[in-house]
């Protein structure tokens, strides 16, 4: 198909809009998430006249970017967005920063006023490249149609190579209308941007030497393993199993190592497990692969894993020694690094101190005995943890390919704690920016990419309202996304901090005047379900899953449940707060900690 397309296109000069579409096709794009407006009408006209690329009309530009993120994260491809100038572009900014923080490859095409009007405060003009400069990995303003095709190709290269991220291409309307030449993606290397992917052999040897000598090792794997592709997760599994080490994942890394594997300690960090955090605190050698020592993970920096040698493998040199000084730095792609580690581990003669490792595991088993994620489901009031756990168990029974997205808050953390992921790319959440309103549009993007899969947005009643308009998109494209609301009638995460840090003064965190979610679903041509009693939970979940179209399941859960374990801001890993009734360290929040978010 592309061959005939090309001979056709070579024969005629194309206008800018056609050039953009041709470049997208050549880059393998199948879907665009967008919203029209004056400045991009030429592009919409070109979209109208072709069938190779499908356009999904969202209801808000922020949602277009989150949808592209969900599409990208669940497929490993680049997500593509198209918005108009001015308000279209500014509405997209939250999504762009979200993609930047979580290293998601996205191309966002923005309309712009014609070049001769730029700077004149023209109608719907915004300084899009200025506004999005710190919101993107890179951005372009195309002022010369001769460079249009090459700019689009370069944008894809930049978005997906090295540490992935969002790229904006600002397209003045005269460029979209003008005629120009088309050029294919260049085969030559980029002039200046050539990230390193192959690890240094000496550093790999140094890492293996440290790891072989370790008595209390731990592997801490993050989103970079997912970014690298499924092969990296496979190799992570191989390496962890061959070395017998415990492994923990960040929020962004969930699915990189199978949750059901006995060597998995669960998530680490602020709401991570007791065993994962104490293993991080007590280890003597730490291997960080594709994680960025985020403050949600390290807690108080000067108390973070105080007695360990640290190895950090990351594709972005700026992630290394940013927050935590490490002993061995490896720059490279996670899959390449892991392949090299597996090989070097086999070759390195020295054996491990098996006895020491066995002792380390006994200590870890001791921490596991705390059963930090245990909760008691008693009576009719549904515990939010229980709702997620049952959702997990029931979807597992169904053996259908399942993808989970979340909004932001307590429900997000409960989803991370109680929904198990055994494979990468099945879990999409807003980690770095923590954007309420991410989950529904992200689920949309996932469902577009995987039409036959089960896609569930685990939501909070407050977050879901931030992009609720996308129920319209679900209806239009018959996307059977399930929205599973843990409705505690509070901005629960805010309420929890107010309870623990601000004397239970629940300032503005009550979800007043909520809509009737069943009627709301109905108004958007979806099915609405409300479950209020624990006895009815399973039936409600099954009813949701059985429905072939989109569903909002409004699950009334305990209003004042807190999410534990919790390392309060400014505290150390060994100062974790556990759920009431569980033994363990109890921390006070210092004034210093209160300053932190």
């Amino acid at each position: 198909m592309s061959a005939t397309l090309k001979t056709e296109t070579e024969a005629r000069t194309m206008n800018g809009a056609e050039i953009v579409l041709q470049a997208l096709k050549d880059q393998g794009v199948e879907v665009i998430f967008g919203y029209p407006g004056g400045a991009v009408l030429p592009l919409y006209d070109a979209i109208f006249q072709q069938n190779a690329i499908r356009h999904i009309l969202v209801r808000h530009e922020q949602a277009a970017v989150h949808a592209a993120e969900g599409y990208a994260r669940s497929t490993g491809k680049v997500g593509v967005v198209l918005v108009t100038s001015g308000p279209g572009a500014t509405n997209a900014v939250t999504g762009l920063v979200d993609a930047l923080m979580d290293s998601i490859p996205v191309i966002c095409l923005t309309g712009q006023v014609p070049t001769h009007l730029i700077g004149n405060d023209a109608f719907q003009e915004a300084d899009t490249t200025g506004i999005t400069r710190p919101a993107t990995k890179h951005n372009y303003l195309v002022k010369d149609i001769g460079k249009l095709a090459s700019t689009v190709h370069e944008a894809f290269y930049v978005a997906k190579s090295g540490r992935p991220g969002p790229v904006v291409i600002d397209l003045p309307k005269d460029i979209l209308i003008g005629k120009g030449p088309y050029s294919e993606a260049p085969k030559t290397a980029h002039r200046s941007y050539r990230p390193m992917t192959e690890p240094d052999a000496g550093q790999i040897r140094a890492a293996v030497k440290l790891l072989k000598g370790a008595k209390r090792p731990v592997v801490y794997a993050g989103g970079g393993v997912i970014n690298s592709g499924p092969e990296a997760s496979r190799l992570l599994g191989e390496f962890v199993r061959m070395t017998g080490m415990p492994c923990t994942n960040t929020l962004m890394g969930l699915g990189a190592y199978p949750s059901t594997d006995p060597q998995f300690l669960g998530m680490l960090g602020m709401h991570g497990t007791f065993e994962a955090n104490l293993a991080m605190h007590g280890c003597d050698v730490m291997l960080n692969i594709g994680a960025r020592f985020d403050d949600r993970v390290t807690g108080r920096l000067n108390a973070f894993s105080p007695n360990s040698k640290k190895i950090h493998a990351d594709i972005d040199p700026s992630s290394i020694n940013k927050n935590v000084k490490v002993d061995v730095a490896i720059v490279g792609d996670a899959a390449r690094v892991l392949a090299a580690l597996v090989e070097a581990w086999r070759e390195e003669g020295a054996g491990q101190d098996r006895e020491a490792i066995a002792g380390w595991w006994r200590q870890i088993e001791g921490w596991r005995e705390t059963r930090c994620l245990q909760y008691r489901q008693e009576g009719s009031i549904i515990k939010p943890q229980h709702a997620v756990k049952r959702l997990y168990e029931i979807t597992r029974e169904m053996r259908q390919e399942t993808f989970i997205t979340t909004e932001v808050g307590q429900h997000q953390m409960w989803a991370a704690q109680y929904f198990g992921f055994d494979r990468p790319n099945r879990w999409m959440t807003s980690g770095g920016l923590g954007t309420m309103g991410y989950g529904l549009p992200a689920a949309m993007g996932v469902q577009i990419a995987h039409p036959d899969a089960l896609v569930i947005d685990i939501a909070g009643e407050a977050s879901i309202l931030m992009n609720i308009q996308e129920m319209g998109t679900l209806a239009q494209y018959r996307l059977p996304v399930k929205v599973f609301i843990l409705n505690n009638e509070y901005m629960g995460m805010v309420r929890q901090w107010q309870e623990l840090l601000h004397g239970s003064r629940y300032s503005e965190s009550y979800s007043e005047a909520l809509p009737d979610f069943v009627k709301l679903a109905d108004a958007f041509h979806a099915k609405g379900i409300r479950v209020t009693r624990a006895e009815d939970l399973d039936a409600g979940i099954r009813e949701m899953l059985a429905h072939p179209g989109p569903v909002i399941a409004d699950i009334a859960v305990a209003k004042d449940e807190n999410c534990f374990p919790m390392i309060p801001s400014g505290a150390a890993h060994n100062e974790m707060i556990l759920a009431p009734g569980q033994a363990g360290g109890v921390a006070g929040v210092t004034d210093e900690g209160k300053v932190l978010v």
Binding site: P134, R163, P317, K325
Partner: protein
């Protein structure tokens, strides 16, 4: 936030070879302001028209960890070709140029001229009641000259900021 153990500050003169394109300076400056790094001086000019390259010289200060961060952050900007920490990489030359205007009559004029001569500043403009001197040198030398001119009739100073280059045969290549 840098680890609290690493608190000794150092200065760094960093040379950056970049694509000569719109927005590159905004990217670099935005990086410094957005991440809270110091800029003591920043200069930029095209150095290779044919290959569309510009060179930026930045003088900054911070802990070792912060300076390493600055270099890594600069290096990952897409239009950046090369980043070189001249302070760390060996002996280098750093120069700044200044135009400085001094107004006055009589003995003050003579004093200004004598000092300018001692500092090897050139007279590039003169009226009966003023001089403009041009002077090149290390920043401290320029500072010293300004201080001397202050009581004599300093009117205006314009400085370029630091440009720097490594000593020896090696060069910064794209």
């Amino acid at each position: 936030m840098p680890a609290s153990t690493d608190t000794t500050f150092r200065n760094a003169t960093i040379a950056v070879l970049v694509e000569n394109e719109a927005g590159i300076l905004a990217r670099v400056v935005g990086l410094f302001s957005g991440r809270g790094y110091n800029i003591e001086s920043l200069t930029v000019a095209p150095v290779d028209e044919a290959r569309r390259l510009s060179r930026i010289t930045i003088v900054t200060s911070g802990t070792d960890m912060v300076i390493e961060q600055i270099k890594a952050q600069l290096d990952r900007l897409v239009p950046v070709h090369k980043v070189s920490d001249l302070t760390l990489e060996g002996p280098h030359l750093a120069r700044e140029m200044m135009l400085i205007k001094v107004a006055g009559r009589g003995e003050h004029r003579m004093e200004a001229l004598r000092l300018a001569d001692a500092f090897r500043a050139r007279v590039v403009d003169a009226t009966t009641e003023s001089f403009v001197f041009e002077m090149t040198g290390a920043g401290e030398k320029l500072d010293a000259f300004i201080e001397l001119m202050r009581p004599i009739g300093l009117t205006e100073v314009s400085r370029t900021g630091v440009v720097a280059i490594a000593r020896g045969p090696g060069g910064l290549q794209a």
